[in-house]
């Protein structure tokens, strides 16, 4: 049975040879599937025919002029170049102080969402609880910590991305705790119509892609993983 998603991936040239051959065989045997394929090809062609000419239209002169004269001012670059060295050093020192203060707070036992156990950084408190129990598919809109994606890492551990006001990151499940694989600034701002509830910090999304083996867990697999205590697969 070829579902729509597979058929579309075939039309888009996204299937590997084996999967592609399987679709081709199915198409040869199934006129209804062939009709669906034609519909998808037609859609691609319709869009190409409609938007294609845009790229050939005469270019407004203002674009070329902008690029040629480059009359956009560069406040950011100018400001950086013009700033004396001591200011940069002062800024650096301030950042270090903030980092130290933040670190002390975060590392205080049982105070923040991060603890240290056996030399690794682990989740604790409400963050650990959210990672343990909260399902991405069924979390309250106002949850303090939002779970993004759950997935199996290449080393077999189950991992989850999370996001809260203070911090976002990825945690992977060891025997009895969540090791924090990476953390980044929290990205939970006010929700807009456009921004999806589940959208994560790009750094986190990128790191998750790196760690991930295969596809993220769907809602059913996520629930199953939780109910079996996030044991390795």
């Amino acid at each position: 049975m070829i579902d729509d998603e597979t058929l579309m991936a075939f039309v888009d040239g996204e299937l590997d040879d084996i999967a592609g051959a399987r679709v081709e065989r199915a198409i040869a045997e199934d006129p209804a599937l062939r009709a669906r394929l034609e519909q998808q090809r037609k859609l691609r062609a319709t869009l190409a025919a409609f938007y294609g000419p845009t790229a050939e239209e005469a270019m407004p002169e203002r674009f070329r002029a902008m690029l040629e004269t480059n009359i956009v001012d560069f406040p950011s670059a100018e400001a950086r170049r013009g700033r004396p060295m001591w200011q940069n050093l002062a800024a650096l020192a301030a950042t270090l102080l903030i980092g130290l203060a933040l670190g002390r707070n975060l590392l205080m036992p049982a105070a923040g969402p991060i603890g240290i156990a056996d030399g690794t950084m682990v989740a604790q408190g409400p963050l650990a609880a959210a990672l343990d129990t909260q399902l991405a598919s069924a979390q309250p809109a106002d949850a303090a910590t939002r779970i993004g994606t759950s997935f199996a890492a290449a080393d077999g551990r189950l991992c989850r991305t999370f996001d809260s006001a203070a911090m976002s990151g990825i945690a992977c499940r060891d025997a009895d705790r969540w090791q924090l694989m990476m953390t980044s600034a929290g990205s939970r701002g006010p929700r807009t119509d456009y921004r999806q509830a589940g959208s994560v910090n790009p750094l986190v999304a990128e790191a998750a892609q790196e760690l991930m083996a295969g596809e993220p867990l769907d809602a059913v697999a996520e629930r199953r993983a939780r109910d079996s205590g996030w044991r390795q697969r």
């Binding site: 729509d4 888009d12 294609g52 239209e57 892609q209």
Partner: protein, 162 residues
């Protein structure tokens, strides 16, 4: 013109096409490209030479469009009662009404959610690979393919009916 500007110039046709698919309006699209170019020229030192300028630029176009949509929504909320009369609904709805003569493809694109529209624009109009489009939008591949599937089903349905 330096290499950076020259490369931007060669990208312009594609950027306009992408902008057209996102904004669904020729004038909006060119304004969008202009804003994106300004932003790119200001932020040129954030582009890492050797990485793909087209993806970097398309991401800027897309972000500029999101900003534009947000400010339109704000404007609509603020000014709607005096300017438009009370009965008018969403911005998208109003746009459709103003431009009575729309091509079927534009009508169909208008019916999509912004998330569906941008994946359709990247993959079906610009021909990006799934991985490239997912990276550009910072979403997992699975999210991309499901938006793509739903968007296409909606488009196909609209265009069949047209």
């Amino acid at each position: 013109m330096q290499a950076f500007e020259r490369e931007l110039l060669t990208l312009l046709p594609r950027l306009r096409r992408f902008a057209r698919a996102l904004s669904r309006d020729a004038a909006d699209a060119d304004d969008l490209v202009q804003v994106a170019l300004e932003r790119a020229l200001k932020a040129r030192d954030q582009w890492a030479p050797g990485t793909r300028l087209d993806s970097w630029m398309m991401r800027i176009v897309r972000n500029c469009w999101i900003d534009e949509m947000r400010s339109r929504t704000r404007r609509a909320r603020t000014f709607l009662p005096e300017e438009e009369g009370a009965a008018i609904g969403s911005q998208a709805h109003r746009e459709v009404e103003i431009r009575a003569e729309l091509h079927d493809v534009e009508k169909a694109m208008n019916s999509l959610s912004p998330e569906q529209r941008e994946v359709i624009a990247l993959v079906l109009v610009e021909g990006l690979a799934y991985k490239e489009a997912a990276d550009l939008l910072d979403i997992p591949i699975g999210t991309l393919t499901s938006r793509l599937t739903r968007g296409r089903q909606a488009l196909a349905q609209m265009l069949e009916a047209a």
